[in-house]
């Protein structure tokens, strides 16, 4: 029971123990077919306190956060919210599955971009992400991906080499700092 309580508080806002494994989350999941563990299995692992296995799954990085599982759960378990927590823990503890670590790399690059600019600079984000992914495992197809789209985007006025920045970037940085410094609760 100790594990269950510990897990429950870590997964604030949803009652993991309410899940009775009906599998409706998995039935409606658009990417269940790609996952190594099904959404209902992830919830079960959390109930059992076996977080290591859940954190190391590829499933949490295949998830598209479409909220179908959460919306359809007959027990109101926030399955998508549970996967958010698993991703956060997996990232913080360096447990992300190597096959899909590029998803984490992308999301980190995204947040980094927002921290600097306050708004997303798409060109900068893609450049950073591709470079990081290339340095990590020499992913040439990823490096080349969509390069042919660039001129088409340019032609359509959709490519902004100099992205927008908010005026008060200092406050954005302070917000990030307050949310990332450990030991400040919630």
């Amino acid at each position: 029971m100790e594990t269950l309580e510990k897990v429950d508080s870590a997964f604030a806002g949803t009652s993991v123990e309410a899940c009775y494994q009906c599998g409706k989350c998995t039935g409606g999941c658009p990417v269940a077919g790609l996952m190594d563990l099904m959404p209902n299995q992830l919830v079960r692992l959390v109930q059992l306190g076996r977080l290591e296995k859940a954190m190391a799954s590829t499933a949490i990085w295949h998830c598209v956060s479409c909220q179908t599982c959460t919306t359809r759960c007959p027990q109101s378990v926030d399955c998508a919210g549970i996967l958010d927590v698993l991703r956060q823990m997996s990232a913080e503890q360096g447990k992300a599955a190597p096959e899909l670590r590029r998803v984490l790399v992308f999301q980190k690059a995204f947040l980094d971009n927002i921290r600097r600019n306050g708004r997303l600079n798409e060109v900068e984000l893609i450049g950073f992400f591709k470079t990081l992914a290339f340095l990590k495992d020499f992913n040439i197809p990823l490096l080349m991906k969509d390069t042919l789209l660039a001129p088409q985007l340019m032609q359509r006025g959709k490519l902004h080499v100099i992205g927008e920045k908010v005026r008060d970037r200092a406050v954005v940085r302070r917000i990030f700092d307050r949310c990332t410094k450990p030991g400040k609760g919630a």
Binding site: P30, C66, Q67, T68, G163, V172, I175, R178, A186
Partner: protein, 285 residues
């Protein structure tokens, strides 16, 4: 009528065609948009996946700006942004401690009282009858598949908009414009959204199913109200066709595109000429 406006990063980036189209419609319908001053990114999937606190704080800063400037209703045309703003607003309204903590973090007092709405709701508030009476060019040839994707209606308890399994709000608008929306099965299936860059294979697979079902259900176009849906179905459509050795050729319109066309605006005014899949004959004007 005036609405607060939170464009979000996409509409000021590669989805600027969506913004142009919305602004053109609003002008014709005499509705003003007041952009939130110095708004910041909502954090999107990256924040809610990696830092829960940040995923409340970033939207909370925008809600605080709206409250400070006395903006009551805010249009967020990107469902990712609107869902994140609504979610943060709910968390704030539910807990005094959260209001105190977030006000401190975002350096502005925030209570979460802003009414955040999507583009469909803006048209509803302007009035479907009002729009109907302003139609100059009924869309008789249009048989759209109205595509809601994931976050317009989900999570249902958070966004509380339309029926999450069988939404009809876009169809009602399209019918008022003279179009004949089709009945199909993928209206609320996800397109893969922000995984376009990091996990393209998933997006192409999901997009292919959506395009195939729309065409198979007799649709001659898809109507969306989300910048990510548009990217994945329009910009990625040729990649989908290459990967699955098929030819969909389905034009993808933003909801504001079709409203604008019916109101008598042309392709250029609505930035439909910036889309990737060539718009069909009936909108060549």
């Amino acid at each position: 009528m005036e609405f607060g406006y939170y464009p979000g990063c996409a509409l000021h980036g590669s989805s600027n065609d969506y913004e142009k189209s919305i602004r053109a419609c609003m002008k014709v319908l005499n509705a003003g948009l007041k952009e939130l001053d110095d708004w910041i990114c909502c954090g999107a999937t990256a924040a809610h996946s990696l830092n829960h606190k940040l995923s409340t704080a970033l939207p909370a800063r925008n809600l605080a700006i709206a409250e400070r400037d006395g903006v009551g209703s805010v249009l967020a045309p990107c469902p990712m942004c609107s869902m994140e703003l609504i979610k943060a607003g709910r968390a704030l309204r539910e807990s005094e401690q959260m209001r105190r903590q977030m006000s401190e973090i975002v350096e502005l007092k925030v209570e979460g009282k802003t009414d955040v709405i999507n583009l469909i709701q803006v048209f509803e508030r302007i009035g479907i009858e009002t729009i109907k009476s302003a139609v100059k060019n009924p869309l008789a040839d249009l048989k759209p598949a109205c595509y809601y994707g994931c976050l317009l209606t989900r999570p249902a308890k958070v966004v509380q908009f339309d029926d999450c399994e069988r939404p009809r709000s876009m169809e009602l608008i399209l019918e008022a414009l003279g179009a004949a929306p089709v009945s199909w099965n993928y209206a609320t299936e996800c397109c893969g959204a922000g995984l376009t860059m990091a996990n393209e294979a998933t997006v192409l697979e999901l997009a292919n199913k959506i395009l195939k079902n729309a065409a198979g259900s007799g649709a001659n176009c898809i109507v969306v109200a989300c910048p990510m849906c548009h990217v994945n179905l329009d910009m990625k459509q040729s990649a989908v066709e290459r990967r699955y050795d098929t030819a969909h050729g389905l034009p993808i319109y933003y909801l504001s595109d079709v409203v604008g066309l019916a109101l008598g605006l042309n392709k250029k005014e609505l930035a439909i000429d910036k889309h990737f899949v060539c718009a069909r004959a009936q909108v060549k004007r």
